[in-house]
Every structure is written in structure tokens, then in C-alpha cells.
């Protein structure tokens, strides 16, 4: 049961991620990204992190992606190329992908594979429920949490300022 669910979700996540880059029509790319995010939420759920899964669906699939769909459906799309290619783009892409591959392989080979034969960590009761996450965010990691909220606030204010300036000149 768990294995079946895991592979369904994993295939969904990978298929969605490939779809995002491979599909020509931006609207379908966005839909693939949504499928990817929902699959990720299922994977979080299987890692006994119900809260993270719910947050993933509510914030990313429910709010952020809605804006994506909104913009893509309005602006339409397909047809025109997204931007000019960089010089040597193909070579650079392969180089960056190769570096990422090596890095991930190193990480997987050095640590994650060691746990394959074992039972996995024992999960304490209450792990990953909202209370535990809240305690982590507001006690142990209070400073990074507040700092990131400040960064988000600055970004929001910046977006409003930029949007307002454009209207004045137009």
C-alpha cells in the first residue's frame, strides 16, 4: 500500500517536473507544476508531516499557482518564444546540469543510501503535527523565521512601489 502510493506520488512528481520544462504551451506547464506540487504534498504526507503537506497544498497549489494560472490564462501564450537564447546556452545548460548531478549524487551516495537497509528513524508521536512545527518555528528557529518574514515583507513592499511607479509614468 505504502509502496504503491510512494511510486504513484513519485511518478507524479517527476512527470510533473518534466512536464513543466518539456511542454510548449505555458498553460500546460503551469498545470504540470500543479500536479508536481500535489504529488510532493502526498510524499510529505507519507513522511508523517501532515502539516507541511497541508501548507504545501494551501500555499503553493492553492495560492501561488492560482496567480500563475491567472497570469498565463490572461496573457495567453504559446507561439512567441520566451526570450532570446544566451550565447552557448546549450553548453552552459549541460555544464550546470552536470554539476548539479554530481553534487546530488555525492549527497545521495554519501549519506542517504546508507539508510536503505535500515528501518528508518523512529518517529515520535506528535512529530510533524502543527504544535511541533509551531514550537520549532517560534522557539528554536525564531530568528531565521522572523528574518525570512522580514525579507518577504520587503519583497511585498517593493512590488507595490514598483507597480505604483509604472503607473505614474504611463
Amino acid at each position: 500500500m505504502e509502496a504503491v502510493l510512494f511510486f504513484l506520488a513519485a511518478i507524479g512528481a517527476l512527470g510533473g517536473a518534466i512536464g513543466v520544462v518539456a511542454l510548449q504551451n505555458p498553460f500546460y506547464s503551469v498545470l504540470a507544476l500543479i500536479a508536481h506540487l500535489f504529488s510532493l504534498a502526498v510524499l510529505f504526507l507519507m513522511l508523517t508531516s501532515a502539516f507541511v503537506a497541508a501548507a504545501q497544498v494551501v500555499v503553493y497549489a492553492g495560492a501561488v499557482m492560482v496567480l500563475y494560472v491567472f497570469v498565463v490564462a490572461y496573457v495567453g501564450g504559446g507561439g512567441e518564444p520566451v526570450g532570446r537564447d544566451l550565447p552557448n546556452q546549450r553548453f552552459l545548460a549541460i555544464l550546470v546540469a552536470g554539476i548539479l548531478f554530481v553534487e546530488l549524487s555525492a549527497a545521495v551516495l554519501s549519506s542517504a543510501l546508507l539508510a536503505l537497509g535500515t528501518h528508518g528513524p523512529d518517529v515520535k508521536p506528535g512529530f510533524g503535527d502543527p504544535a511541533a512545527i509551531g514550537r520549532l518555528l517560534l522557539e528554536k528557529f525564531l530568528l531565521p523565521f522572523e528574518a525570512s518574514s522580514l525579507v518577504l515583507l520587503i519583497a511585498a513592499v517593493g512590488a507595490i512601489v514598483l507597480a505604483g511607479r509604472k503607473r505614474e509614468t504611463a
Partner: protein
């Protein structure tokens, strides 16, 4: 076992299956009655009889309606995207049925919890599955290949995002007062006083946002018939249109159920324990009546009025409510 299931209280699988079937059957029995109740009530509000030809008091009307919808051709416009067009009405139904799972009908009685599931993330589950419904509208509107449908879908997108924020913040006060996200715990916390009284502002905001989330008058902008024909469902016919309609009533029931559990004491009421689900249902129906009453009374807002109400009135008010509640909870 998946962690979304209750970890403290485990039931046999067959009980869980039986529970889901019972909840599903009862709600789907109520939905058609709801359509005829709405038409009857609106008729009364407007000083006319409403449907009274099919069956006694017109009670068989939904049967005739559904029969008509099912026997119609499932029409599809030529430039519609077929898979997405079919997916459109499916997603909202899925989301509505999933949301039914957390409505609490009573606490554990004789070893059976009178609810679908009691998840630790509780009310977040409602928002998570609610976001699926939205894609149904959007895909339906976009894939129809029609301007009216697209505009209707875009409007619903903007509207749903705007009001979901206020809706969540309105519930935060209740969550802080009860100290739990689980709907069962929240109802239990209303043993002394229903949260409807201390959280009156939250209740008002939640209901207003609920009208907007279910696309009901005065916020039925996505399907404003005077401007957009029927919004995102313009191009739908037959039972696909029927599903969109069905989902609207299901969402009304779900929002009423959440409001009843969060603010009106859920299953709490006098009488023996087996009356608990009846109390819950009665409270839900009272709220559904308000939905219909509002539809018969208020005209549709203009789109900019809708947006400024959502962002400039409800959101600051909800935030203020959360702040005041937080201070009071800490002080007392």
C-alpha cells in the same frame, strides 16, 4: 498507515468504510432536497409559490431536473480542450466530497467516532481540499474556448484568492481560543459558550467570505448572468453543468457545516447522545437558510466593490480580530 488518519484513536477499517458510505449517502440525499428548498423559499420571499407541480408540494422537482440534465446531450464547443473540459466539473465534486470527511457529527460514541476523520491538521484540511475546487472552475472556464467562460473563470480566481485570506484569518480567533486545529476538539471547547458570541466578528467575516467562496449572491460575480451569461459554466450542458450546480450546494453545506462546528457549538445540544448528528444538521440547515435568505434579499455587488470589500474591509477587520483575540487569550 498514513499520518493524516487519526493517530490517537484507531477504528476498524470496515467501520471507517461504513462511516464514509453513510455520510456520503446522507449528504447526497440532502443535496436534491436543498435545490427544491431553495427554489421554494425564494418563491416565498418573492411572493410566489415556487415549484409545486411535480409530486406533493413540488418535492419531486429535483428528480425531474436531474432526469432532464442526465438525458441531455453532453455538448462540447468545437474549440474546447476536451480532456480539461471534462476534468473541469470533476475536480469541484472531488473537493466537495473530500471536505465532507472532516465535518464532525458527534464525538466518539460506543467506539465509533461520529465523523469521517479527525485529522490533527483539522481545519487546514478544509482549505487544502478547497483549493482543488478552484482549479475545476478555472480549467472549465479556460478550456471552454469562450470569452465569457474565461472572464468568469478569471473573476472567480481573483475572488477566491481574495476571500480565502479573510476566511482563514476569521477562523484564527476560534483556533486560538480553543487551542486546537481539530474540529472535534474545537466543538468540545465550546462546552461552556459557543464561539459565536466571543468571536462574533469572526463569524460575520467567515460567513461573508463563505458567500464569496461559494459564488453566492451578493458575490456571484463569476456567473453574473447579466454580464457573463453564466460565467465559467456558460459552455457546459447536461450533467456536466449539473455537477457544477450540485457542487455549489455541496459547498454551501460544507461551509455551513464548518461554520456550525467552529462557531455554533457543532453537535452540542440538549437531549441524549444519539441526537448529536441531528443538532449538527439542524444548525447547518439554519445557516443554509441564511444563505438562501441573503440570495433573495441582496443585489449583486459591482466587481470593484467586491474587491475593495474583500481587501479593504474584511481583511483589516479579520486581522484586527486576530490581534485582539490574541491579546485577550494571553491576558486571561
Amino acid at each position: 498507515m498514513l499520518s493524516i488518519a487519526d493517530t490517537t484513536f484507531v477504528e476498524a477499517t470496515w467501520i471507517m468504510i461504513a462511516k464514509s458510505l453513510v455520510i456520503f449517502a446522507i449528504i447526497f440525499g440532502i443535496l436534491p432536497i436543498l435545490t427544491v428548498v431553495e427554489r421554494k423559499l425564494i418563491g416565498r420571499f418573492q411572493h410566489r409559490y415556487g415549484p409545486n407541480r411535480v409530486g406533493p408540494y413540488g418535492l419531486m422537482q429535483p428528480l425531474a431536473d436531474v432526469g432532464k440534465l442526465i438525458s441531455k446531450e453532453s455538448f462540447r464547443p468545437e474549440n474546447a480542450v476536451s480532456t480539461l473540459f471534462i476534468l473541469g466539473p470533476l475536480l469541484p465534486v472531488l473537493s466537495g466530497v473530500l471536505a465532507l470527511a472532516i465535518l464532525p457529527w458527534g464525538n466518539v460514541q460506543d467506539g465509533v467516532g461520529l465523523y469521517g476523520i479527525d485529522v490533527p491538521i483539522g481545519i487546514l484540511y478544509f482549505f487544502a481540499v478547497g483549493s482543488i475546487a478552484f482549479y475545476g472552475l478555472l480549467l472549465g472556464g479556460w478550456s471552454s474556448g469562450s470569452k465569457y467562460s474565461l472572464l468568469g473563470a478569471m473573476r472567480s480566481a481573483a475572488q477566491l484568492i481574495s476571500y480565502e485570506v479573510s476566511m482563514g484569518l476569521a477562523l484564527l480567533g476560534v483556533i486560538m481560543m480553543s487551542g486546537s486545529l481539530s474540529l472535534v476538539d474545537i466543538v468540545e471547547a465550546q462546552n461552556k459558550i459557543w464561539f459565536f458570541i466571543p468571536q462574533f466578528v469572526g463569524f460575520l467575516i467567515f460567513m461573508l467570505a463563505g458567500f464569496a467562496e461559494t459564488n453566492r449572491t451578493p458575490f456571484d460575480m463569476p456567473e453574473a448572468d447579466a454580464e457573463l451569461v453564466q460565467g465559467f459554466m456558460t459552455e457546459y450542458g447536461g450533467m456536466r453543468f449539473g455537477s457544477f450546480l450540485l457542487v455549489e450546494y455541496m459547498e454551501i453545506l460544507v461551509v455551513s457545516g464548518i461554520a456550525a462546528a467552529m462557531f455554533l457549538g457543532g453537535w452540542m445540544g440538549p437531549g441524549p447522545g444519539f441526537l448529536d448528528p441531528v443538532w449538527m444538521l439542524a444548525k447547518m440547515f439554519a445557516l443554509v437558510f441564511i444563505f438562501i435568505w441573503v440570495r433573495a434579499t441582496l443585489p449583486r455587488l459591482r466587481y470593484d466593490q467586491l474587491m475593495s470589500l474583500g481587501w479593504k474591509v474584511l481583511l483589516p477587520l479579520a486581522t484586527l480580530n486576530v490581534l485582539v483575540t490574541a491579546v485577550l487569550v494571553v491576558v486571561t
